[in-house]
């Protein structure tokens, strides 16, 4: 997908989404290794930008970009084949290039173009040297290996970005399922995608909500999390919360067994009329109700995660009085603090401080993003409004 427009300038597809602009050093070891392997002065992974060629990763080069027009890198990106200039001063195209001027000018160039995930040519692995050199096919070959690797990295990054978009899209958002209640949640995967999820949806006379944490991190966990979410949702019509969890566990047992995974889960059904919450805690253990008077109750947990021994689940009840807030969070939140159960008190203190589920969730999200959480961080908060609260339904 390379074209020359009517002005004669290069019109490559510019993929700023693949790299942070201006310079996101994604392949530093590659440039260093290539420089050592070839004994070359300068090695860059360069990407076409609108007017410049950006050095996304570089070895021996100080600047972050160079002008595009007519340069070595642009010419190489336009080439179908690797561009090898063994002696710059003997090459009509480049002998007058500013970079070749003077005693320390560029005398050798080798550029191997690479493609983006959709097959368009977007950049070049380029090597410069200050003396002419001969460069045979056996020396081009390692550049091809490096370029194949760059392309597969870019493909992987794009796949992950798309997976993350899909996972985000599966989180509930702007519905107002229940007048008189506010609900908010956030899920921040440690990697692009993760095994945590939260969910909520209207049920007859109230609201169902779930926080789940699939073993592990990354794509494998995310695939299982998508299945768990779907299975639990499919039991939405079960009026009994234990039935819903048992049905889900049965449906998931083969899959979880096959991949030796398990899921901790908090699943609840809340009756809108009086705030009665019936819940199952399957090895989750981190749900607390912060009362309007500032006291807090850590909810009872007795049962095992799904996919372990599946020896049955039991329901417990807690009532949200007006002004009470239920907060359920994944164990990744523990790592934001000292990793002990004392963290529950930290979360309770934040919940007291926060007037709404949204502001509590925002506070924890800021912490997780600031500290670069090592594990997936997920928080779900539900508050029953006070009688004199303005009716504001659900926020996300």
């Amino acid at each position: 997908m390379v074209a020359v427009d009517e002005n004669g300038t290069l019109d490559v597809l510019i993929r700023t989404d693949l790299f942070g602009m201006p310079s996101d050093d994604r392949f530093p070891n590659l440039c260093r290794t290539a420089a050592a392997h070839y004994g070359a002065e300068l090695v860059v992974v360069a990407m076409a930008g609108p007017e410049s060629v950006w050095f996304q990763s570089r070895h021996g080069v100080v600047s972050e970009s160079i002008e595009r027009a007519g340069g070595f890198c642009e010419t190489a990106i336009l080439s179908d084949d690797p561009l090898i200039v063994e002696d710059v001063l003997a090459d009509e195209r480049f002998k007058h290039h500013p970079a070749a001027a003077g005693p320390n000018g560029v005398r050798f160039f080798a550029g191997y173009p690479f493609h983006g995930p959709d097959g368009e040519r977007i950049g070049v692995l380029a090597m410069f040297d200050l003396k002419p050199r001969t460069f045979g096919a056996d020396e081009v070959e390692p550049m091809k290996v490096a370029v194949d690797w760059i392309e597969s990295e870019l493909q992987g990054a794009q796949d992950l970005d798309r997976a993350a978009d899909v996972q985000r899209a599966m989180l509930p958002r702007n519905l107002a399922p229940l007048a008189g209640y506010e609900i908010a949640g956030v899920c921040i995967p440690a990697k692009s995608v993760g095994g945590d999820f939260y969910d909520w949806y209207a049920i007859d006379g109230g609201l169902a909500f779930t926080l789940g944490d699939v073993m592990g991190k990354g794509i494998a966990s995310a695939i299982i999390a998508a299945a768990v979410r779907a299975v639990v949702r499919s039991a939405a019509h079960e009026s009994d919360v234990v039935e819903a969890v048992e049905r889900s566990a049965t449906a998931l047992s083969t899959d979880l067994g096959e991949v030796s995974s398990f899921v901790t889960m908090f699943h609840a059904r809340m009756r809108a009329s009086d705030g009665l919450v019936s819940y199952v805690d399957a090895g989750h253990g981190l749900t607390v109700v912060v009362r309007v008077d500032g006291t807090a109750d850590l909810l009872v947990t007795t049962d095992l995660p799904l996919g372990t021994l599946d020896d049955g689940w039991s329901s417990h009840q807690v009532t949200l009085e007006p002004g009470d807030m239920l907060v359920s969070f994944s164990d990744g939140v523990l790592d934001l603090f000292d990793g002990t159960l004392a963290v529950v008190d930290e979360v309770v203190a934040m919940a007291r401080e926060a007037s709404t589920p949204r502001s509590l969730v925002d506070t924890l999200e800021r912490l997780a993003r600031r500290d670069g959480a090592p594990d997936d961080v997920t928080v779900l908060a539900v508050r029953r409004g006070l009688a004199n609260d303005r009716p504001n339904g659900t926020q996300t």
Partner: protein, 110 residues
């Protein structure tokens, strides 16, 4: 992580774990238990006193090990988890089925 296996009299094996039982090392615990059970010993005791970090993947390996031994007619017991590992077992309620014994050597005596 270090995974040291030694045999006790009878069909009991003790696995001593030292270090972090996480996504990177979980497979080694699974393999160790599978190989113990394949060799005919079905009662496995894990000394967790040296485990300074346990994540969900590590916990998954312990659960797999428990299932593997039970399917072979034996059992798995754990001894002396501390700190963060103990908290993970407690939060997930798995301490209910994986009671922590004081000493891996004697876990099957009780």
């Amino acid at each position: 992580m270090e995974v040291n296996v030694r045999d006790l009299t009878g069909d009991i094996a003790v696995i001593q774990l030292v270090g972090r039982l996480n996504m990177a090392s979980a497979a080694r615990l699974r393999e160790a238990v599978t190989s113990i059970v394949d060799s005919g010993r079905t009662r496995v005791s894990i000394d967790m006193s040296g485990v300074d970090f346990l994540d969900s993947s590590g916990l998954g390996a312990i659960i797999s090990a428990l299932k593997t031994t039970r399917q072979a007619g034996g059992d798995l017991r754990i001894a002396a988890p501390t700190g963060q590992a103990k908290l993970v077992l407690q939060l997930t309620n798995l301490d209910r089925v994986l009671t922590a014994y004081d000493d891996a050597e004697t876990a099957f005596n009780e």
